[in-house]
């Protein structure tokens, strides 16, 4: 049994930022991650990270207002204030750690424009900002000699006397299972995109943390808020960054028109993502698309500009579609990208379970509300990753020691063995593909009562099928067959929660657009939805949104 003060699950930006802070605060910290840290999905963020730096005439309040308007007034405004206030410090700290941010002519940090904001306040590294940040945070983990359980898979959180006491996990390389005790746990497991098919998300984004939290009694908040990104490739769902539009790319339909003129005359291509995705889908539905896509057009930006600032986009376009962005527009469509919803936390990342914290995409503070602005997700990970660790210190210091019942481990071992012992059945991929198709159909850019109810019923049925999945691979070493199944168990919890959230919210707000209830209803629905296990069943309730200085108004771009 290994013992730590603080165990962080996930080694993306939120997890590593929390871990570095934990070490700085003098805690015995360990990070556990199912892939090597630099394989984490924070890598995939391309465009940049937002901050209002005061020394260049920007104001965090403007950033906050853009974020709140982007959220369609569902974000908790106290949380948005924290994020936007701390953004400047976060960016400078990242630069000091070694991030090679792009510079302006004076050698100071340079910006690019991003969606939903009038002012350019997105700091960036080419079109690999997430990767550049993640590798630098990994560098810091080397500097601080972090203890990392690399390629370990967490199957269960341990709760004792109502408090978090650690986790059970196995080493994917050997199959060896261990009880790892910790006085506090930070969940930083990222998103759950694989619940949908297709998705921009990596194959590892299976909502592990959301399910782990639910299993110990934490509620998920606003799960219905699923972001469809406006520029993804058809078929495999691979992302082309908003940085393209931030740097001036157009969206055009089959008639060659910049159709955003009709939908967001002021912001054009840089309206909020939910707005742009709906505009694209309307064009496609009304017959002005080609093979279910519209076009992203960068030709006027020129080859040199594209290669210098948007190099990774050019690589993706060439490798996956054989298209040179400086010569041809590329077909794109809205694609599932991000879950605004997640484990409900307070401003310090704390959940309702003592000792359990969450940060990053798996958490919901909530700063993104019903629609996240581009380049706010990286900021979210850095600000709230740090805060979770800082705020765990006092809690951790209130313990002298922690003893955990070892029987927890043998119970979990036999649960896993029973799964491996299933003699026959279907493959987990079969069930996962059905889930992905169900969710994409039911909880899409558009949704309505019928589609939601159908998805919910189908998901309940698919949950019932889980015991019929069998694991062909019976080995201990690198058994990805087993890992995929356990991930599927997590995803089913998340998928069902998403359906329940969608069913509960009787209005359209941000990314949750119901064709049977097309308007926002502030009188009844300035509320968060909460989904939680009550015994074995999912139970849905609501809570109030925190409004500070910004009263909801009509949202026009």
């Amino acid at each position: 049994m290994s013992k730590h003060d603080l165990l962080i699950i996930g080694a993306g930006l939120a997890g590593l930022r929390a871990a570095v802070e934990g070490v700085r605060q003098g805690l015995n910290v360990a990070v556990i991650t199912k892939v090597h840290p630099v394989r984490s999905h924070s890598n995939a963020a391309q465009g940049g990270i937002n901050a209002a730096l005061t020394d260049r005439g920007d104001d965090w309040r403007d950033h906050a207002l853009a974020t709140i308007k982007g959220s369609d007034y569902l974000a908790d405004q106290d949380a948005v204030e924290v994020m936007c206030r701390e953004a400047g410090e976060a960016i400078i700290e990242l630069e000091n750690m070694g991030v090679i941010f792009s510079r302006d002519d004076d050698g100071k940090l340079g910006t690019r424009a991003f969606g939903g904001q009038k002012k350019a306040r997105t700091y960036f590294v080419g079109a690999i900002t997430g990767s550049a940040l993640l590798h630098v945070l990994y560098e810091q983990s080397v500097k601080y000699d972090l203890h990392i359980y690399e390629e370990w898979f967490v199957t269960k959180l341990i709760k004792q006397d109502g408090k978090i006491a650690g986790a059970i996990a196995f080493d994917i390389k050997t199959g060896q299972m261990e009880l790892i005790t910790a006085k506090a746990v930070v969940l930083a497991t990222g998103g759950a995109g694989r619940v949908f098919e297709p998705s921009t998300n990596a194959l590892i984004c299976t909502g592990d943390g959301l399910s782990l939290a639910m299993q110990v009694g934490a509620p998920l908040m606003d799960t219905e808020m699923i972001q469809y990104h406006p520029t993804t490739l058809a078929g495999n769902g691979i992302l082309l960054s908003e940085a393209a539009r931030g740097d001036g790319a157009y969206l055009i339909n089959s008639e060659g028109d910049r159709f955003m003129e009709k939908y967001a005359p002021d912001y054009m291509e840089l309206a909020s993502r939910d707005v742009v995705s709906r505009a694209e889908q309307t064009e496609i539905d009304e017959g002005r698309g080609v093979d279910g896509c519209v076009y992203l057009d960068l030709r006027h930006l020129g080859k040199k500009f594209i290669e210098e600032r948007l190099g990774y986009l050019q690589e993706v376009a060439l490798e996956f579609r054989g298209i040179d962005l400086s010569e041809s527009p590329i077909p794109i469509k809205p694609g599932m990208h991000y879950i605004m919803g997640g484990i409900k936390t307070d401003l310090n990342g704390a959940t309702n379970i003592p000792g359990l914290y969450a940060a990053g995409e798996c958490a919901n503070v909530s700063v993104h509300g019903a629609n996240r602005l581009g380049a706010n997700s990286l900021l979210d990970t850095i600000v709230f990753g740090r805060r979770a660790a800082v705020n765990s210190v006092e809690y951790i210091k209130s313990f002298s020691s922690l003893e955990v019942d070892e029987r927890e481990l043998s119970k979990e071992k036999s649960r896993i063995q029973n799964i491996l012992d299933r003699p026959r059945g279907m493959r987990s991929a079969e069930l996962r593909n059905k889930m992905g198709a169900t969710m994409t159909k039911g909880i899409g850019v558009w949704r309505d009562k019928d589609s939601i109810i159908e998805a919910m019923a189908k998901m309940k049925y698919l949950r019932g099928q889980l015991p019929n999945v069998y694991i062909e691979n019976k080995g201990k070493v690198f058994n990805t067959d087993l890992v995929s199944y356990l991930e599927l168990e997590f995803m089913v919890d998340v998928a069902e929660s998403i359906c329940h959230g969608a069913d509960k919210r009787l209005e359209s707000r941000g990314a949750h657009f119901r064709t049977d209830m097309k308007s926002r209803n502030d009188a009844d629905w300035l509320k968060h939805t909460l989904v939680q296990f009550a015994d074995e069943e999912l139970n849905t309730t609501t809570s109030d949104v925190t409004i500070t200085d910004w009263q909801p108004t009509e949202r026009v771009y």
Binding site: R39, N96, V142
Partner: protein, 318 residues
């Protein structure tokens, strides 16, 4: 389309030997090798082990050998490497121990990355950002593009014969700090990189440059660090002496004097090195691989020497 994929399998739990297994799968026309492998794993054979995550050439998980050379399988389309529909041969990377099937042990790879102190060292924490030129940052973007996939290490011919060599990935990482204007430890870094297993152990075969899926060009960074090390005054290395002897020989004689090159690289005062060299010399002699001790004079040696001198003066002007 029907694709044939031949996968090198190894299971440490059951078999002691690796073997090839043939799979035939129906995939979409523009499928990548990764699409194919995932389909095999999900529909045909749940025991197949591989690493993969992002599917978009940014996470660096899925570097494997395809028809003999290292590639990211997520961005390699089946039809690119199987023009006539012949089987695509997929193997784990070379120069790494195999854990299972296509999954390799990367512990040594990471420990070499850690050995170059891979973090920016600054002695002060300014309240604002460091003021540096955009060009310097854009230049670093070239190495920051590295996703640590290991393809360069898999192909490295120097590592093949000397596993202690720091290797192209870790050295490219080192360059990222050596060339970072914010780093204040450049001289020490170069001193360390100048030691055995460092920059001089690269054989300059270009394999890493050729296979890198992100155009990081590790070898070019290594060569650049050699120059920077010399500029910093680190000249007491066989690598440096080799370079000097090589260019002297060309400038003076219009040819390479291999005997002198070997002696001078070792160092004429390096007694133990010279003894080692003598042993190698005797062995080579018996195998008929030693050059004639008295150099012949090439026909147009004068032209070669004048070209060499001209290049030299151009470099000085620059």
């Amino acid at each position: 389309m029907e694709a044939q994929i031949k996968v090198k399998r190894f299971n440490p739990e059951n078999e002691s030997e690796s073997f090839f297994q043939d799979y035939s799968i129906d995939v979409a026309e523009d499928s990548t090798i990764l699409d194919g492998l995932i389909k095999i794993r999900e529909e045909l054979d749940g025991t197949l082990a591989l690493r993969c995550s992002c599917r978009a050439s940014i996470c660096g998980s899925c570097s494997m050998k395809v028809n003999g050379s290292a590639k990211l399988v997520c961005k390699t389309r089946i039809k690119e490497v199987s023009l006539e529909g012949e089987p695509v041969i997929v193997e784990p990377m070379s120069n790494f121990p195999v854990i299972k099937d296509l999954v390799t042990e990367m512990d040594l790879f990471w420990s070499k990355v850690k050995s170059v102190d891979p973090y920016v060292k600054t002695n002060f924490e300014p309240e604002a950002e460091h003021i540096v030129s955009n060009e310097s940052m854009t230049h670093l973007l070239g190495v920051m593009n590295c996703i640590m996939c290991g393809a360069c290490v898999s192909e490295c011919t120097a590592l093949e014969v000397d596993p202690t060599f720091t290797g192209p990935a870790a050295l490219a990482k080192a360059y990222r700090f050596v060339a970072d204007p914010r780093d204040e430890d450049k001289k020490n870094r170069l001193g360390k990189l100048n030691e055995n297993t460092g920059v001089w152990d690269c054989s300059r075969c270009l394999a890493c440059v050729e296979v890198c899926p992100k155009d990081v060009a590790p070898m070019e960074r290594i060569v650049k660090m050699r120059d920077l090390a010399i500029e910093e005054g680190y000249t007491n290395t066989s690598g440096y002496r080799h370079t000097e002897s090589f260019s002297d020989s060309i400038k003076k004689h219009g040819r390479l004097d291999e005997t002198r090159l070997a002696l001078e690289s070792t160092g004429l005062l390096n007694i133990s090195g010279l003894i080692d060299l003598a042993v190698i010399g005797i062995k080579s002699l018996f195998k008929g691989k030693i050059p004639p001790p008295l150099p012949h004079k090439p026909k147009e040696a004068d032209k070669v020497t004048s070209i060499a001198r001209r290049l030299d003066s151009q470099e000085t002007e620059e």
